[in-house]
Symmetry: C2
Subunit: 340 residues, 2 copies
């Protein structure tokens, strides 16, 4: 049996079964970060994520963008847990013929993204490799025991995001499938994959209030993220609205595509944070996020069970599909994908 036969989740599961479990760790298997209590000092959060040049770099990304994105991939998950980033480290795999100045620009991109989140890139290691590999680790500290995991949502909680969905989906259709788009649509979509915004201030405001029962970033795509929260918390969701930017609607109309399909299943690499907010603290939370210059968009509510999209009177199931390493797009599909 090969890794490509079971996909990323299958491979991850097989690795996990070979590892003994640390009894002190708080989040457990199925979450994407590690949480270790440090007594009065709070909870240490650690997350690791790797950017692979031949797989994750879209044509037109400058070295600065590559570094920025590799940093955001790591920062975002720590922020989603309600932890303030403490530091960022990178193990670099570098081809010998790589331009030295391009390396420096990658580092500047990492540095800039880290400073956006009030932290620094402090450490690393460099090795020779055939492909560009940027394996990051972000550490964060959550004050007290208030970490935000994937478990914990309760029926009635409000599902909300820090921003809209679908732009990365449009960008992949432009960059990988060669679809046409008006200049403004193209620019905004490509910007979304080149320089994703880490939702640091929003994440810190929500962590401070302690109003989120569960949360995560949407780097695997919106539909997959909703399924993760549902599965890990044992709740359903009724989605009544999905925030979709005008550029995505325009692109969908131009190509006869379903904008909800683009927003739910097509993208991934979106770093909006998705939270389940306790209803009694909703007003306060929305105001706190506005207070730091952000905005919370309501998608729907957690329910006793079932995952449904109810928009304009029609109801559709939300499927558990999106991008998965080793499998490509689609659920259980074997269309080996190279994205991008």
């Amino acid at each position: 049996m090969r890794v490509s036969d079971v996909g990323e989740i299958g491979a991850h599961g097989r690795i996990q079964r070979a590892l003994r479990r640390d009894p002190r760790e708080l989040l457990g298997y199925g979450d994407d970060a590690v949480a270790i209590p440090l007594g009065d000092w709070g909870t240490l959060i650690a997350h690791t994520d790797v950017l692979v040049g031949s797989r994750d770099v879209v044509e037109g990304m400058a070295p600065f963008d590559i570094g920025w994105k590799a940093a955001v991939m790591n920062l975002s998950d720590v922020i989603a847990k309600g932890a303030a980033p403490l530091t960022l480290l990178f193990s670099w795999g570098i081809p010998g013929d790589y331009e030295l100045e391009a390396l420096a620009e990658i580092a500047s991109g990492m540095d800039a993204a880290a400073r956006e989140c009030e932290t620094f890139v402090t450490g690393g290691d460099t090795s020779e490799a055939d492909d560009l590999i940027l394996a990051g680790t972000c550490l964060g500290l959550a004050k007290g025991g208030r970490i935000i995991g994937r478990r914990g949502a309760k029926p009635g909680d409000i599902l909300a995001s820090t921003g809209p969905f679908g732009l990365t989906s449009v960008a992949f259709k432009i960059a990988l499938e060669g679809l046409e788009a008006p200049g403004r649509v193209r620019d905004r979509a490509l910007q979304a994959i080149r320089r994703p915004i880490p939702r640091f201030r929003e994440g810190m405001a929500i962590a401070e209030l302690g109003s989120a029962s569960a949360g995560m970033d949407c780097s695997d795509g919106l539909a997959k993220s909703i399924h993760w929260l549902s599965r890990m918390s044992g709740v359903g969701f009724e989605i009544s609205s999905i925030p979709i930017p005008g550029e995505v609607l325009e692109f969908a109309e131009l190509h006869g595509l379903d904008p909800y399909e683009l927003a739910l299943y097509g993208g991934g690499e979106e770093y909006e944070l998705l939270y389940c907010i306790r209803p009694g603290l909703w007003e306060e939370t929305a105001e706190a996020v506005e207070g730091v210059g952000g905005r919370l968009e309501v998608l729907g509510r957690a329910t006793e069970g079932g995952l449904a999209l109810r928009i304009d009177g029609a109801s559709k199931p939300i499927e558990d599909r999106g991008w998965e390493h080793f499998k490509g797009w689609g659920r259980g599909g074997r269309e080996q994908g190279r994205r991008p």
Copy 2:
């Protein structure tokens, strides 16, 4: 200018110059870990190191060995700093056609090495890549402010190691250059590169005593490590003895090689810890290490300046050479090496 023109140290320097410096971080550039004070709780140590399949895996290493080694590479540096390993994370890059059971064995190897050091592998991420990439991050906690860096050695300090040198050097000559060796020599040498021993108990005993003024592991080779300690601490060293196993002496004699050359310059990937011990605490330290089943071998003394090997009445300089990524063996050499 390309990375191969400046080598690993040059590339590292260029990256560092592009990064703003975290004023809280304690070890600074030139050390290989990051230290962040957590108040009364102690000091958080983080180190990241990557194993690249096509570069770092020698023929004959089983998947379990690969995982073990990737873990030790990361554990060792944290232990050398005087910190108890807190947790270990890995970002995996995996070729799609990799065997699932081999992945599980790699994970078992990581797990076994982590448990040797009383910690766990708690987190990770998997991505598709053309080569096997195991990018690890080890976190550790040093109680109080007592971290052991590369700076801090004083003239008069005793330079000592937790074990002998030269076995990995012999192993590379066997595995990469095809040199012959008697079975027993071969077995011990190959074991040294397949299953390096993390010096956890020794490291914790020395950290507990607080008797080391500086220290590091010898993964870059003995001569390079001595040069690092010298440069960062502003001291010299007079080396009067190098512990070399009988198997290395036998192999050297068989092939007309200089055993000191093998021990100082040829190997790397040795995970013995090298410490500068305050002379007044020497007896106590040696006893403490013996108390946990280890042994400290005296190499020499820190001096006001100069690096010399004085053995059998003859004196030779110690050169700053060994393995360097992108450069291969030798100082400033351009023999692009693929090791292994």
